[in-house]
Symmetry: C2
Subunit: 385 residues, 2 copies
C-alpha cells in the first residue's frame, strides 16, 4: 500500500521514515509548502497526490482545520484511504469526513489524534462492537502533564514550566490550546463520538492549567494531593452526554499520580470489560508516527472506521455531572459558591472545598468571576474510578 | 457469525450471555460434560459442533491442555475459526494450532489468555507489523496481585490472603499455577511468541509468591517498597530470548504500585512507540468474556492471527539478564550469593541486597538452597521502565 504524507514537520518526518522501513507499506510523495520542494519525493500541490493513481492512502499530519479539510475531502473523493493525527480537523469536521469516507468506500482512521502513541481510540472502537461503553476519559494532553509534573516534582513555577516544555518541543510557540484544555477537549470529543456515535459541538467546557500557581502546588502538596488535567466523557441513562476538561486532585495511591512527564493515560469503562486504562507517550515524533503507522497497517488488514456509520454532530450537557471542588479565590467573591469547609484564609484569599456543584455551575462561576477580574483556581475532588 | 462455546463455567456463561446480546454474532451450541446436558443449547460431544455446518467459530474456555487441544484441532480442521482463553493450551500447543489454522484458512486468536480483559496481545500483534518490539511484560496474574495487595495494604498473612482469594473465586481450589508464577509464565510465553515469533518451551524460570511472608511485608514497607509479581520478556541484540517471572520491589511513585486488587498491568515497549502499558481486570467472568468477544468481532472484521506465520517453538536463556536482588535467607547460607549491603541480621536470618546477579543464577541458587531445606525469599530491585 503506497502512502502519501501531507506535512513534513516533526510527525511527518517520523511517518515518512517509518513508512520506508515497514513491510507491506510504501512511502509515496510528501506534500510540503510551495518553495519547500527541495527533494524529489516532495510535491507542493494536493493534485499531485490526488491525481497519482499509484497512491492508495493519504496520511495527514499538518494540523489545523484548513487547508487540511479541503485536502482530506479531495483525497477521499479521489478514492484514497485517509489517516490523520489532526484532532482539530476531526473534532470540527469528523462527521463530514466519516460520511464522505463511507460514501467513497475508503477508510478514515485517526488513532494519533487522541493519546499520541496510546491506541485508545482503536481499542474503544473495537470494544463498542460487543460491549456498552459507560465512560471515557483520562490525561490526554502531554504538554500540560509535563508542566504539572515539573511544577509539582521539582518546584518550577508556571512560566518556567511552560518555557521548558517549549524548549523540549512539547509546547507550541502559541501554547493556548494546550494550557486552556482545548486540545484535551478535542480529544475527548473524538472519544465520545467513537463510543456513542455523537460528536459534541456545543455545551462543552474546558478549564486548563493557566490559573495554577506555585502557591497552589505547595498548598495541595501539604494536603497530600497532586493536580492532573483530566478529560471526561460520559453518557447518562437519559442519553445526555457530558464532555469536559478540568484539573482534578489525585492522591499518591491513584494511578494518575504515576503518570509523569509527557505521558498520557487514556481510559474507558465497558459494562462487561470493566475499566481499561492505557499509558504511553502522548506526543513526540515516533510515538505519534507509530500510531499513524498502526492505522495504515490496520487498513491493510481490513479496518476502515472508528466513528460508527450514523455518527452525528451533537451537544454536550454538563449540568448533571456533580463534584466537590477545591477552590482558591478572593474572599470578596466567596458568596458565589457553597463552602463546605474552609481550608485556609490569609485575609485576602480563601481556599475551600465546596459542597456538591455541577460541572456547568463551577465552570460558569469561574468564568463570571474572571470577567470581574478575580483570580480563580479550581480542581475537582474525586477519586479515580 | 454463529459461535459454539466449549465449556460452561465462569467464563463460558459470560461468553454465552454476551453472544446473545452482540450484534453480528450469534450463540451456537455449548459443549458441556456428559450428563450435564439439561438445556436444549447444550451438547456433550465435540462432533455435534464440528459436524454442525451452521457453526462458523468455536470459543474454547474449558482450560487445560487436553481434551482442549484435541477439540481445537478438530474444530480448526472442520473449518471453524478458533478463539480461546486457555493459556495452558496456547503455551503448550500454540505453534501447532497456529500452523493448523493457517493451513485450514481459519482464524486463531487468544486475547483472553493473557491479561484477562486487557487487550495486550491484540495491540502487540498490531504493533509488530510496523514497529520493533524491545520488551514485553508486566503484572499478568490477578490472583497473586490480589493476594499481595491484601497482604500489603491490610496486613493479611499469606494463608489468609489465599483463602480470601479462593472465596472470591480469584484462586482455584488448587492455586499452584497462580502462586508459583506458572500462570504468569505461560502468559509471557504467549507475549514473546506474538512479539518475536518464538514460543519458548525451555530455559524458562518462574519464582512465585509462595515464600512471601507477613514479616517480609513489614520489612519492605519500612524501606518504602511494595512487592509485585512481574513477568518479563526481552529479546537481546544477539537474538537471545529472556522469559521469566519473579517478585519485584516497586516504590510508591512506580506505576505498578497503583495496580491493586485483581488488576493486571501489561506492557510492551516498541522502538518507535516507546513504552505502552495497559491496565484492567485480569480475571473474572465478564472482563475475560469481553476479551473473547472482541476476538470474535475482530474475526468478523478480518483479523485472523496473533502469532506470525513462521512462529516456532524455541528456548529462553535468562543468563544475560542481571539485577540486584533483595534476599532473605538463613545466615548459614549467605555464602551462596554476593552481598552488597546487609539490611538486617537477627542472628539467624539475614536480609541483604546482592550485587548484580543474573536471573538464572538467582533462581537456581534459591532452588538449590530450598533443596537443602533453607527458607528463601527474593525479589528483584529495579525501577519500572
Amino acid at each position: 500500500m503506497k502512502v502519501a504524507v501531507l506535512g513534513y514537520g516533526t510527525v511527518g518526518v517520523g511517518v515518512y521514515e517509518m513508512l520506508q522501513a515497514a513491510e507491506g507499506l510504501e512511502a509515496g510523495p510528501v506534500l510540503v509548502r510551495p518553495g519547500k520542494v527541495n527533494e524529489p519525493f516532495k510535491v507542493d500541490s494536493i493534485e499531485a497526490i490526488t491525481g497519482d493513481a499509484t497512491v492508495d492512502a493519504v496520511a495527514e499530519v499538518m494540523g489545523g482545520v484548513e487547508p487540511a479539510f479541503t485536502y482530506a475531502l479531495a483525497a477521499i473523493q479521489a478514492g484514497k484511504h485517509f489517516v490523520t493525527s489532526n484532532k482539530a480537523l476531526v473534532a470540527a469536521k469528523g462527521v463530514e469526513l466519516n460520511r464522505a469516507a463511507r460514501e467513497n468506500g475508503v477508510a478514515f482512521l485517526f488513532s494519533a489524534a487522541c493519546g499520541g502513541g496510546v491506541p485508545i481510540l482503536h481499542n474503544l472502537a473495537r470494544a463498542v462492537e460487543t460491549d456498552e461503553i459507560l465512560s471515557v476519559g483520562g490525561i490526554l494532553n502531554g504538554t500540560t502533564n509535563y508542566m504539572l509534573d515539573q511544577m509539582q516534582s521539582i518546584g518550577l513555577d508556571y512560566g518556567e514550566a511552560l518555557r521548558q516544555a517549549q524548549q523540549l518541543g512539547y509546547a507550541e510557540a502559541d501554547p493556548t490550546a494546550d494550557v486552556t484544555g482545548l486540545d484535551a477537549l478535542r480529544k475527548i470529543m473524538l472519544a465520545c463520538a467513537v463510543a456513542w456515535g455523537e460528536l459534541p459541538q456545543e455545551g462543552l467546557l474546558n478549564e486548563g492549567i493557566d490559573s495554577f500557581t506555585a502557591e497552589d502546588v505547595r498548598d495541595l502538596a501539604a494536603r497530600g494531593f497532586v493536580c492532573r488535567l483530566v478529560a471526561s466523557g460520559k453518557r447518562a441513562e437519559d442519553g445526555r452526554l457530558a464532555a469536559y476538561v478540568e484539573p482534578v486532585l489525585v492522591s499518591a495511591g491513584d494511578a494518575e499520580s504515576a503518570v509523569l512527564r509527557n505521558y498520557n493515560m487514556a481510559r474507558y469503562e465497558g459494562r462487561c470489560s470493566g475499566p481499561i486504562a492505557m499509558i504511553g507517550q502522548g506526543a513526540g515524533r515516533y510515538p505519534t508516527a507509530s500510531a499513524v503507522l498502526r492505522d495504515l497497517s490496520g487498513i491493510a488488514a481490513g479496518e476502515s472506521a472508528m466513528f460508527p456509520a450514523g455518527c452525528v454532530n451533537g451537544a454536550a450537557d454538563n449540568s448533571a455531572e456533580v463534584h466537590e471542588y477545591y477552590v482558591r479565590l478572593p474572599k470578596a467573591a466567596v458568596h458565589s459558591l457553597p463552602v463546605a469547609a474552609v481550608l485556609s484564609d490569609d485575609g485576602e484569599t480563601l481556599r475551600f472545598r465546596t459542597g456538591e456543584v455541577s460541572v456547568k455551575t463551577m465552570h460558569e462561576t469561574a468564568a463570571s468571576l474572571r470577567a470581574d477580574h478575580h483570580a480563580v483556581f479550581f480542581a475537582a475532588c474525586r477519586r479515580s474510578a
